[in-house]
């Protein structure tokens, strides 16, 4: 082990081995996944996202929501082999999705937001759970309106407060006592807030894919 060339060659071999084995192989296996076309309706799944929701996804990335939220419904517990009262089953039992999410669910995303930490709930299907604009706007403005005790930060900087002139805006947030703007003022979402909410509403897994086992439903 006294020769530079021997050591460096060995090191390069370990790099190549790990890269080819993990990165290249998964790229070959998953990199060519196509969307699934339903034979009856001709629709393709996962469905593409609307333009405004795609802009909202950008806002989601810019604000770093991924630091606290995952977007993946994990494989359910295998009752046969795992009997303790916990397991990945929690994801589906909590209503975070009706089936596990699979690789194909993510192929439309230019940037994948699987996440690694669940300070808050999983958001893979949050658009199906909370399906109104109003709920999300209120929640982003101050999460403690909808969920007392929440530790999610407020994103009130995505909203602007302005004096109500003669005609109040129909888009103003309907905020409860104690959270709203002072009398004579109203809170309006900025375009970024609107886009972000459209993105959250677009987070659903309400379609089926052939590779997901049916018993997960």
């Amino acid at each position: 082990m006294n020769k530079l060339s021997v050591i460096i060659t060995g090191i390069l071999v370990t790099i190549a081995f790990s890269w080819a084995g993990l990165v290249l192989t998964s790229h070959v296996q998953l990199g060519a996944l196509e969307h699934h076309v339903d034979e009856l309706s001709g629709d393709s799944f996962p469905p593409p996202r609307a333009g405004i929701a795609r802009r909202g996804k950008k806002t989601y990335q810019e604000l770093g929501c991924v630091a606290c939220h995952t977007q993946q419904v994990r494989r359910p517990r295998d009752e046969e082999t795992w009997r303790l009262p916990y397991g990945y089953a929690g994801d589906i039992e909590r209503g975070w999705g009706e089936r596990q999410s699979v690789a194909r669910d993510y192929i439309r995303d230019e940037v994948v937001l699987l996440g690694t930490r669940r300070v808050g709930p999983d958001l893979m299907t949050v658009g199906g759970r909370e399906d109104t604009r109003e709920w999300h706007h209120r929640h982003l403005y101050d999460p403690r309106i909808n969920t007392p005790g929440s530790t999610m930060p407020s994103y009130s900087f995505l909203y602007k407060t302005r004096a109500v002139d003669d005609d109040p805006s129909p888009r103003a947030l309907d905020l409860p006592e104690g959270f709203g703007a002072p009398a004579g003022y109203e809170v309006l979402p900025t375009p970024r807030a609107d886009a972000l909410v459209q993105y959250l509403l677009s987070l659903r897994m309400d379609y089926e894919l052939p590779e997901v086992p049916a018993e997960n439903e």
Partner: protein, 495 residues
């Protein structure tokens, strides 16, 4: 291996690859003064700022309103900014400083082409600054430990290329007959980093791979940044300083070589177990599990090499701050590797995945192991390159005890709190409201913040001390040999 019979720095070398006379330690140390101070000072400054950001992050977890009104300081940006500062600002600058110095000393060569290093330092630190600024204004990526924007990465890459070339040339033109364990690890680190960094930037930022391939690449990068960039530098330090301070040679070079190669092969496959249960094929997760288990093999050998040398010498922990920090790190390295293998098991992972437990485990690796080892190394290197003494034993003690207790408190809080959190998340029957689970983590998060305050105190003590020693007068040459003892001849039996 038969020629590796001499201890690092022993003066029995005859001239090495170049056939030239090796330089004396004094000359080498003095020639390394500027790069060591530059990288050391940058690392200490980044560490301090990173700790402030870590505290903000930690406070926000239990007090969401804290500094909440500015988009610039929202949780989702402060957290990645903190990690970027810590990994690329503190850990990597410190790693550079320690790596160069060990490389130069073991190659028995004075600093050559220093301008390469100064240019690299400038590119690197400007790059980190641009990265942090980019993250704070919202140009961040969602990939763990690679949140920096695409425009910052080329600066880091240029810096790194310069550094790797410098290190390879220093090793190539070494004036020593031998190569040492520490040098192997340093070379491995210097090749692994540009490879994973380049591939990850390409496949995640510049030409994003399709779908969840990104998640595989991301995990591969983040894990290897720890396992094949930070850890090898830490191991180089441990292999250098523990024998050096004890005046005992590395226990077994033969085993050290086996451990080195098996570590590179196995550890680089561990890491994908973090995707367990997720939308990737099962073999990817299995490889992570198998990799983490197999990594225990080199870890045990490395551990024997370090811990056997320590046996009967624990008294030296009291007299040598370097040994105290580095050995704390070595113990953490052994234990975090065991912990990583333990949490790779499916039944354990089901509980701890996505919880604060993973933060505890991560900090046990990047802080209790790597950071503590770097502290120890800097305590050894700075007086020698500066030819000055550390002004205050009290500050060193304060630094050690605040950081040691701080990190132990943090890891315990996160691991216990995270375990409880994991069990409750997975048990919707008993805890139907998610926000109750969130509430039950509060005491542990507050404990985490208290630990952060201890760490801030320790880092402040270290920063003050670091800049204080720069202002001290140099010591006269006569007393140098008395103050800085260097073991001379130490033969080991050749296996």
């Amino acid at each position: 291996m038969s020629d590796s019979s001499s201890h690092p720095d022993s003066s029995t070398n005859r001239g090495g690859a170049t056939g030239l006379q090796p330089f004396g330690l004094r000359a080498i140390d003095t020639s390394m003064r500027v790069p060591a101070v530059v990288f050391g000072a940058m690392s200490v400054l980044w560490l301090f700022v990173a700790t402030l950001f870590a505290l903000i992050t930690s406070f926000k977890l239990h007090t969401p309103g804290f500094l909440g009104q500015w988009e610039l300081l929202t949780f989702g940006r402060v957290q990645p900014a903190y990690m970027t500062m810590f990994l690329y600002g503190w850990a990597t600058n410190a790693g550079f400083g320690v790596a160069f110095w060990i490389m130069a000393r073991l190659s028995r060569n004075t600093l050559q082409a220093g301008v390469t290093l100064y240019t690299a330092a400038a590119f690197w630190n400007v790059g980190v600054l641009v990265a942090i600024f980019g993250i704070l204004i919202g140009h961040l990526n969602p990939h763990k430990w690679l949140e920096m924007p695409g425009y910052a990465a080329p600066l880091l890459f240029v810096a790194f290329a310069l550094i790797a070339v410098w290190a390879v040339l220093t090793f190539r033109f070494r004036r020593s007959d031998y190569s040492y364990v520490s040098q192997w690890y340093l070379l491995a680190a210097l090749f692994w980093f540009p490879a994973i960094f380049g591939i990850a930037c390409l496949m995640l930022v510049y030409a994003p791979a399709r779908g969840v391939v990104q998640s595989v690449v991301g995990m591969w990068y983040a894990h290897n940044l720890y396992a094949l960039w930070l850890t090898p530098i830490g191991l180089a330090a441990a292999y250098y300083f523990i024998p050096k301070i004890l005046g005992k040679p590395v226990h077994s070079y033969y085993f050290a070589a086996i451990a080195f190669w098996t570590y590179l092969v196995f550890a680089s496959w561990a890491g994908t177990q973090h995707l367990a249960g997720g939308p990737v094929p099962a073999w990817i997760i299995s490889s992570g599990i198998v990799g983490s288990l197999l990594t225990l093999f080199p870890v045990v050998i490395i551990g024997i090499n370090h811990h056997v040398s320590m046996a009967g010498n624990f008294g030296k922990l009291r007299t040598s701050p370097t040994l105290r920090f580095v050995y704390f790190g070595a113990v953490a390295f052994t234990s975090v590797s065991i912990l990583t293998a333990f949490t790779a098991f499916r039944s354990v992972r089901e509980v701890v995945q996505f919880t604060y437990f993973m933060d505890g485990q991560m900090q046990w690796g990047i802080y209790a192991w790597f950071t503590m080892a770097m502290f120890g190394a800097l305590y050894y290197i700075m007086p020698r390159v500066l030819n000055r003494e550390w002004p205050s034993a009290m500050l060193i003690r304060l630094h050690f005890w605040t950081c040691a207790s701080g990190i132990v408190l943090y890891v315990l809080a996160m691991c216990i709190g995270g375990w409880i959190q994991g069990i409750q998340i997975n048990n919707p029957g008993a805890y139907p409201d998610f926000v109750d689970v969130v509430g039950n983590t509060m005491p542990w998060l507050v404990a985490g913040s208290l630990a952060g305050i201890l760490l801030l105190l320790g880092h402040a003590a270290f920063a003050i001390h670091f800049f204080w020693i720069l202002l001290r007068p140099e010591i006269p040459d006569e007393s140098r040999s008395k103050l800085f003892k260097e073991p001379k001849h130490m033969k080991v039996a050749v296996k």
